[in-house]
């Protein structure tokens, strides 16, 4: 394959991944890494390096949108970023000791888990339950907040619970992000909304705010290690960025519910293929 057609192929795959990612509220990484490794035969480490760069590009490009919504809890984000960045560095370090076969396995497991979480979320309401007075750490660290809920048309106050558990789960989300080159928003959101009782909307906005910083932690180490190949990372970053802009601006009217169901099936199939690959079985 000639270099130019390879670039165009990468650009179009990434564009599609970006659209999917934006419409479904996932990053593009969940699609990019399997596409590059299973589809194009690229070495797992390089696929991860390219994907993590694209995560930074999309997250930075969209940051303004999330802050403008005024529901991002900056203090929660900063506190939890201590955990996600440490995790991301651990993950990036771990990646050098783990061979591709095992990485396929871990990726497969986290895809199954993502698919399960998305499946569980399919009928979820966005409002949240009022809770007790919250965790003492949340009061000490001024984590409790309020936001304007356009559905309820009122200011909703919320308190933050189980801060240590949330912190611990974020460490895990960081490891997965650094190891597999994904934003791991799909793991960050439940850590905040299920474990810490943050309203779902606040959780998603805060998660999106955090993703770029988490990714930058491992991307720095992938970069100096030489796992970021310009000829691979450049079209992937560009494609995912354009795709996600297209996704958020043009495809908003799409039936997300239908798409979500299709995507759960796709995610499941990719996870299955990755699982087989981890046992040395090639489907194609």
């Amino acid at each position: 394959m000639s270099p130019i057609s390879f670039q165009l192929l990468l650009l179009s795959i990434s564009f599609g991944a970006g659209i999917f990612g934006a419409v479904l509220g996932l990053g593009g990484g969940v699609i990019i890494v399997p596409a590059l490794t299973l589809g194009l035969g690229v070495n797992f480490h390089y696929a991860v390096g390219a994907s993590i760069v694209s995560v930074i590009a999309t997250s930075s490009g969209a940051a303004a949108t999330y802050v403008r919504e005024k529901i991002t809890n900056i203090r929660v984000a900063m506190l939890l970023e201590v955990a996600t960045t440490v995790g991301a560095l651990l993950g990036a370090t771990l990646a050098t000791y783990v061979d591709s076969q095992k990485l396929f396995f871990v990726f497969s497991v986290s895809l199954f888990f993502s698919a399960y979480l998305m499946f569980r979320k399919r009928h979820r309401e966005t409002s949240h339950l009022p809770s007790s007075e919250g965790h003492w750490m949340a009061r000490a660290l001024k984590l409790n907040g309020r936001f304007h809920d356009p559905v309820l048309r009122q200011e909703v106050e919320y308190v933050v619970n189980r801060v240590p558990l949330g912190f611990f789960l974020m460490l895990g989300a960081g490891i997965i992000s650094g190891l597999l080159g994904i934003g791991s928003g799909v793991l960050k959101v439940p850590a905040m909304d299920s474990a810490m009782n943050l309203p779902l909307k606040v959780s998603s906005a805060t998660s999106n705010f955090m993703i770029g910083v988490t990714a930058a932690a491992s991307a720095g180490s992938y970069y100096v290690r030489g796992d970021i190949v310009p000829l691979l990372a450049a079209p992937v970053a560009l494609g995912v960025l354009l795709g996600s802009w297209f996704g958020t601006h043009v495809m908003m009217k799409l039936q997300v519910k239908v798409l979500r169901k299709i995507f759960i099936v796709v995610l499941f199939l990719i996870a299955l293929e990755m699982l087989l690959k981890s046992f040395g079985i090639s489907v194609r």
């Binding site: 690229v42 940051a63 802050v67």
Partner: protein, 144 residues
Amino acid sequence: MAKQMVAKKEAENRLMQMELVLAFVLRYGVLLCIAIISAGVALRLLHLGVVSTSSEDIVAALRSGQMIKSSPLPVSLAEFWLGTVRLDSDVITAAGLAFLIALPIFRVGMTVVLFALEKDKNYFFITLLVLVILLSGIYFGKSL
């Protein structure tokens, strides 16, 4: 008490406003990075400038799942400068990529300053810690 609440809310709003400004810097920063990265790739594909490994070899190695034997990406300012002057397309692309990775780090750095200005000691140290972790990833990245 009420006065305190108002002051607290104002401080929150200031924080949000400044974060919003940072977020816009990030957005335009991304555009700039993409422009630099695209310029580097275009130079390479159009066979302008110098390259250390041919595109054909890199693509072949990528498609076969192999590691690539090429010169490492630049890390020092001197390397970036020399490469750019020589029109080394990989160095130009790498500069765009490095700048892109630096954007969230820059954002965290600015947030440290914001919390210092707000005299919020706890969050000054928390954000500073995040910044140190991010920078140590780059500093120790090779040996990790």
